[in-house]
């Protein structure tokens, strides 16, 4: 009886821990799959078959759906986070590479890599509500917290375009360094950070004046400067730190958002591109393309906890509470 009680008790503890753990979704570009993991154990829960060349991945703000760009199938697959299966698809989205959602979760913005275009989609109906002609090989997308602006980067033009969400007209273009991959608004919405993969810098742009405040450079002892290739950018929950994945430098840089200076570099797997923050803010998950794994980083100690295999050429990550 006492034994049974203690089993029941420990089961209850276990399940409450399980409830705290987040669920991670990783796109595997080479496998045409999305790997689903438990954030605590980093064990694979499921591998979901999706269409061809999954890259960009984003979760709806209500956590109900995950949207996956399928570059070679010209569509977006939508994963139901309850059933962990593809529940619907949004067709006729040419060569989608990266996807963003507005903070309300009403609209999706997709970069069409070969079309020099951004497509705007109504989330509920899956209908295309507009397109914006942008620079060549568009990629990065970020929607401002006030829902007024969407920023898109063009890798070929080395520009960040500020697009008015209402009119879908470009209001400003900001020249950054070579091959900008990712744009992110700071938590307070006052700045836009844009990574330049070949330029090796992150441009910090004033969101209001659209002028570059600073270009952040990186320097890792023993790493050849040309291998420092910033791609993914994420901000900590309190907004005090930024995490920048440095691709062929195999590190994630930690940047102080006040001084705009790098304060640490965390060694991860090879070719880290995109990342996700744990919903409780304590961990960072990094997709390493060339080592086929995902690294979890403890954000308190800034030490990698573990790396686990996920699939071939992991590209992007989303984390669901």
């Amino acid at each position: 009886m006492r034994l049974a009680l203690s089993i029941a008790l420990s089961a209850a503890i276990l399940s409450s821990q399980a409830a705290l753990a987040a669920t991670l979704f990783v796109t595997n570009e080479r496998d045409n799959t999305v790997t689903v993991l438990d954030s605590e154990t980093l064990a694979i829960k499921k591998i979901i078959q999706v269409g061809a060349r999954p890259r960009g991945i984003v979760m709806s703000p209500d956590h109900d759906e995950i949207f996956v760009c399928l570059g070679d199938d010209n569509r977006i697959d939508v994963i139901d986070t309850k059933t962990l299966s593809v529940s619907r698809s949004i067709p006729n989205v040419p060569d989608p590479e990266l996807i963003a959602t507005d903070p309300k979760g009403e609209r999706l913005y997709v970069a069409n890599e070969e079309q020099s275009q951004v497509t705007v989609i109504d989330r509920a109906t899956g209908k295309i509500v507009g397109t914006v002609a942008v620079g060549g090989e568009p990629e990065g997308l970020a929607v401002s917290p006030d829902l007024k602006t969407v920023v898109n980067t063009s890798e070929l033009a080395s520009m960040a375009f500020f697009i008015n969400v209402k009119t879908l007209k470009i209001e400003a273009d900001v020249l950054v360094d070579q091959r900008p991959r990712v744009a992110q608004y700071t938590r307070d919405g006052k700045q836009v950070w844009v990574s330049a993969e070949v330029g090796g810098t992150v441009s910090v742009i004033d969101a209001r004046t659209r002028v570059i405040i600073k270009k952040i450079g990186f320097d890792i002892p023993g790493v050849q400067p040309e291998l420092i290739q910033p791609v993914g950018i994420l901000f900590s929950s309190d907004g005090k730190r930024a995490y920048v994945a440095l691709s062929h430098a195999n590190h994630v840089a930690v940047v102080d958002t006040k001084t705009l200076m790098p304060i640490a570099y965390v060694l991860v797997g090879e070719r880290p591109w995109h990342m996700a923050l744990d919903p409780n803010g304590t961990k960072l998950y990094v997709a390493n393309g060339n080592t086929n794994d995902l690294t979890a980083i403890d954000l308190k100690t800034l030490k990698p906890i573990r790396s686990v295999n996920v699939g071939h050429l992991p590209w992007g990550v989303a984390a669901m509470p």
Binding site: G135, G136, A157, F161, L175, E197, V198, L227, Q229, H248
Partner: protein, 394 residues
């Protein structure tokens, strides 16, 4: 008569109208040299290599340019084989042009570069690989985009050392280009501590692209060419005109891989290359030109992009500003190789990673991991600053 527009009219114009569009005037200067047709029937003869890439480059520049009021105007000036390139170049310079994409062989390239009118021009050479042109015969107004023979041979040399395939059986043709590449292969062997255990030449010229029979002869000839040699690891073939190199694969007396100008080749671009968004470039080119992108197309694209990038960053269209930017430490051009490319100041050669491609797939990219250089890893390929024989006239 000029009528000043009213304030109301002016206000209704888009902001971009306020500043006039800046035009980047580039002339593509080329000649239709007779080129060898590919030995393999799988490769179709292509007669517009280079210019098609330049056209895509201009289109790429203009996608960006429309946001910032810049426009690339590409003039195509391609002479017949017997055309007088010097007279044509004089006309081009006299018309005020100074940004040149040169699709010219060495002799013509130097004839154009040495014109007094060309002194302040920027000539981007997209065709040659001659080491001479980067060494004793270098010119202060000629930038070389294609990898030199030395860079190509070093790329293969690094790979073969990494594989420990260090005993090379060198088989080369006898034409001037064959001999130039052969010299680079010998240099690479000594740089990377590999050994050329045997050297043979193969001279053959008469050939039709297609014949009703013939493989029986090929089998015998290639076996004969490759027998009775000391133990070796690879055949290093140099056959620039594609006369016989392709036939060495699977026909050698001993079972050995073939590297060099056939088999595993060292190139700036290859149709099997997809990494670093290379797939997007391939798709964009194929959509435009309805054929696969050749190495010279890539160089043509790159040349126009280099001019476009210099204008984008400086806002200048004059040669002096563009040249000083291209040679500055800030200059860096992204070209689907993962890292930015820039020019070596000592010989104006573009430093770049080099693809090592097999007939059907990419094998590796040089510099091979582990080959280090104190400044740029890519400077481990070709003639480095301390070894240069290029001294520009002041």
């Amino acid at each position: 008569m000029f009528i000043a527009p009213s304030a109301g009219w002016a206000q209704s114009q888009p902001a971009a109208m306020a500043t006039p569009i800046k035009h980047l005037r580039i002339v593509y200067l080329g000649k239709r040299y007779s080129e060898p047709v590919p030995l393999s029937l799988l490769d179709k003869p292509v007669y517009d290599k280079g210019i098609q890439g330049a056209r895509v480059g201009a289109a790429d520049n203009n996608v960006t340019g429309k946001f910032v009021g810049q426009e690339t105007d590409l003039t195509e000036d391609i002479l017949p084989q017997n055309g007088d390139i010097v007279a044509e170049a004089k006309k081009v310079f006299a018309a005020g042009n100074s940004l040149i994409v040169a699709d010219l062989e060495a002799k013509d390239l130097l004839a154009v570069a040495d014109l007094p009118e060309a002194k302040t021009a920027i000539i981007l050479d997209i065709r040659t690989s001659d080491d001479d042109l980067r060494q004793e015969q270098c010119r202060a107004n000629v930038f070389h985009l294609a990898p030199s023979y030395a860079m190509r041979a070093d790329a293969l040399g690094q790979f073969l050392l990494y594989k420990r395939w260090q005993r090379w059986f060198l088989i080369h043709g006898t034409k001037p280009a064959d001999l130039a590449y052969t010299a680079a292969v010998k240099r690479a062997a000594s740089r990377f501590g590999s050994r050329i255990v045997a050297e043979r030449t193969y001279a053959y010229s008469a050939r039709a692209r297609t014949t009703d029979t013939g493989h029986q002869q090929t089998e015998q000839q290639m076996a004969l060419l490759t027998q009775s040699v000391p133990a070796y690891d690879v055949i290093f073939v140099v056959d620039m005109d594609e006369v016989f190199g392709e036939y060495l694969l699977f026909n050698s007396f001993d079972p050995r891989p073939v590297v060099g100008t056939q088999g595993l080749i060292a190139v700036a671009w290859h149709r099997s290359f997809e990494e670093y968004a290379g797939q997007e470039m391939q798709n964009r080119f194929e959509k435009f030109a309805h054929r696969t992108m050749t190495e010279r197309d890539y160089e043509g694209w790159l040349a126009v992009r280099i001019f476009g990038e210099a204008l984008l960053r400086t806002g200048a269209t004059d040669t002096k500003s563009l040249r000083s930017y291209i040679l500055s430490d800030e200059f860096n051009i992204a070209a689907y190789k993962g890292i930015g490319l820039s020019f070596r100041k000592w010989d104006l050669q573009l430093r770049q990673p080099i693809l090592l491609a097999g007939p059907r797939a990419l094998v590796s990219i040089a510099p091979i991991a582990g080959f280090l250089h104190p400044k740029y890893l890519t400077d481990s390929l070709g003639f480095d600053e301390p070894e240069t024989k290029c001294h520009f006239a002041k």
